[in-house]
Amino acid sequence: MVESNNKLQTLQPKAKVEQLNFYYGSTHVLKDVNMVVAKNVVTALIGPSGCGKTTLLRCFNRLHDLYPGNRYEGSILLDSAPTNILSRKVDPIELRMRIGMVFQRPNPFPKSIYENVAYGLRVRGISKQSIIDERVEQALQDAALWDEVKDRLKDMAFNLSGGQQQRLCIARALATNPELILFDEPTSALDPNATSSIEQLIGQLKQQVTILIVTHSMQQAARISDYTAFMYLGELVEFGATQSVFSSPKQERTADYVFGHIG
């Protein structure tokens, strides 16, 4: 079903999804999903709403474990010495410390800008002020927010604009040097200017971290991603280099979606 892309095989995989099935109660939400998330590139998940793209994303840090009635089958293998993310034996806390996440709506903590970024470090028990200062500054710089907030780190995060709050959330995820960052429609609550600054940021970040992004906008996927997976009704319909998925889709349903006949 999924045509392997030649270049994709030459890239180092960060995570491999194999025969993933996900159930919510008796609803079969994800059906036999197979895909590869390559290292240091941006992989986008697109599809109409309800297709399961966010559900798939939230499997990567086992966020579904927080709610009852969920069941995973199959595997997501992280790294070459594989950890099966979905295995009961793997502690979701360990995964969440290795894999960062940025949510649909900016959700900073009602604390200062500084404390928001420092929190991930404090969870790890890092308490040395100089280390925290340094990592907070680095993360804010990587999130292209440092220049705007360096003089008011003690201000409440809620005083920032929506776009700044979302970049703060990115900085919060970056501060602990994650291997993979999951973005769940990070710009859907933002205005066009804020959206474009986040998109630029994602383009820069892939140098240092692998990115998996769910997006509601095909244009966004086309602009920022290297690989695109198109999902429809819980199935992964097509997966390949973004360019080829958008210009010459191999599946009829993909073509219908990217050319605007459905969704």
Binding site: N61, L63, L66, P68, I93, E94, L95, R96, M97, G100, M101, F103, R105, N107, P108, F109, P110, Y119, G120, R122, V123, R124, M156, F158, N159, C169, R172, A173, T176
Partner: protein
């Protein structure tokens, strides 16, 4: 639209507007009746009571002479009983609220517990008095003491603390919890660093409202055997000799403000009525101060938090 239809339309509008105005007037009258009654009572109390307020009133024990009688044992008793109530009800109530809201699985059992906790808030206070008489005073042999009284009132206000804790936790959007979990926190880290501090304003408000209710309770304390006349103070909690702290006061007999008031009101001499009014004024001021603190704390902790 023809002229006749338009006339009909306007008549209909003015009729509906009239109904609207009538309801507004009825509503206003009802609320005025309530407020005026309450104000009249408070003003009457203040007029009767304030002349009696003096330093001597706070530092004297009750006695046979209304001019020399005071509320020393009553306000000390009330303060100590409230202290026990606070120490017992807050940890128990907040911990139960956290468990029920954040940890307990959402099934029929937790639903049953929730319904029961809510209903407990409506049980008449004298029932708690009977329970406490049997349990604390008799079974646990705590006697007719400050400890028994504090624990009784703690039981009485526990449902209020539990319910407000749960409601404050529930008001925090789930996105905040997910943000914390996504950074790899355990449940307890998430609660201690986030949901608990962010709900602090609500919890504190609930605690103070609960104490304001407890401070005026009379029936359960009479049931467990509070004295109506007492002319000595419990042992002080701090002593000059080692080990400097003493818990003997917990076993002391006691009276509280509303019981002292009740005692004076039932005296035949009219002079005692003024003492009762003065004690009433102080009780109202205590309650108002507590509510004021609650409002301030709510404002203080809510600063910078919006959702």
């Amino acid at each position: 639209m023809s002229g006749e239809n338009l006339q009909e339309l306007r008549a209909n509008i003015s009729w509906r507007k009239l109904l609207d105005a009538i309801f507004a007037i009825i509503g206003l009258l009802t609320i005025l009746v309530a407020i005026i009654t309450l104000l009249a009572l408070i003003i009457r109390l203040a007029v009767d009571g304030t002349p009696r307020l003096s330093w001597q009133f706070f530092t004297s024990f009750p006695g046979r002479d209304p001019e020399e009688a005071g509320i020393l044992s009553a306000w000390v008793g009330t303060s100590l009983v409230m202290l026990v109530t606070l120490v017992a009800a807050v940890p128990l109530g907040v911990a139960s609220g956290i468990y029920l809201e954040e940890y307990a699985p959402k099934n029929w059992l937790s639903a049953l517990i929730e319904v029961n906790v809510t209903n407990l808030a409506g049980v008449p206070s004298i029932i708690y008095g009977l329970l406490a008489l049997g349990l604390f005073a008799e079974q646990l042999k705590l006697g007719e003491s400050i400890l028994t009284a504090g624990l009784t009132l703690a039981l009485l206000v526990l449902p209020v603390v539990i319910v407000t804790t749960r409601e404050s936790l529930r008001a925090i959007p789930n996105s905040i919890r997910e943000a914390a979990y996504a950074l790899g926190t355990t449940k307890w880290q998430m609660i201690w660093d986030h949901t608990l501090p962010y709900s602090m304003s609500g919890i504190l408000t609930g605690v103070i409202i609960a104490l304001a209710r407890a401070i005026g309770e009379t029936a359960p304390l009479i049931t467990i055997g509070a004295l109506t006349f007492i002319a000595f103070l419990p042992e002080p909690p701090i002593k000059s000799q080692f080990p400097f702290i003493s818990f003997e006061w917990l076993q002391a007999p006691f009276t509280v403000m509303p019981i002292q008031m009740f005692n004076w009101v039932s005296r035949p001499e009219p002079e005692f009525q003024f003492n009762a009014a003065a004690a009433g004024v102080i009780l109202i001021v205590m309650t108002l101060v507590m509510n004021g603190i609650a409002i301030y704390l709510r404002y203080r902790f809510r600063r910078g938090i919006k959702w």
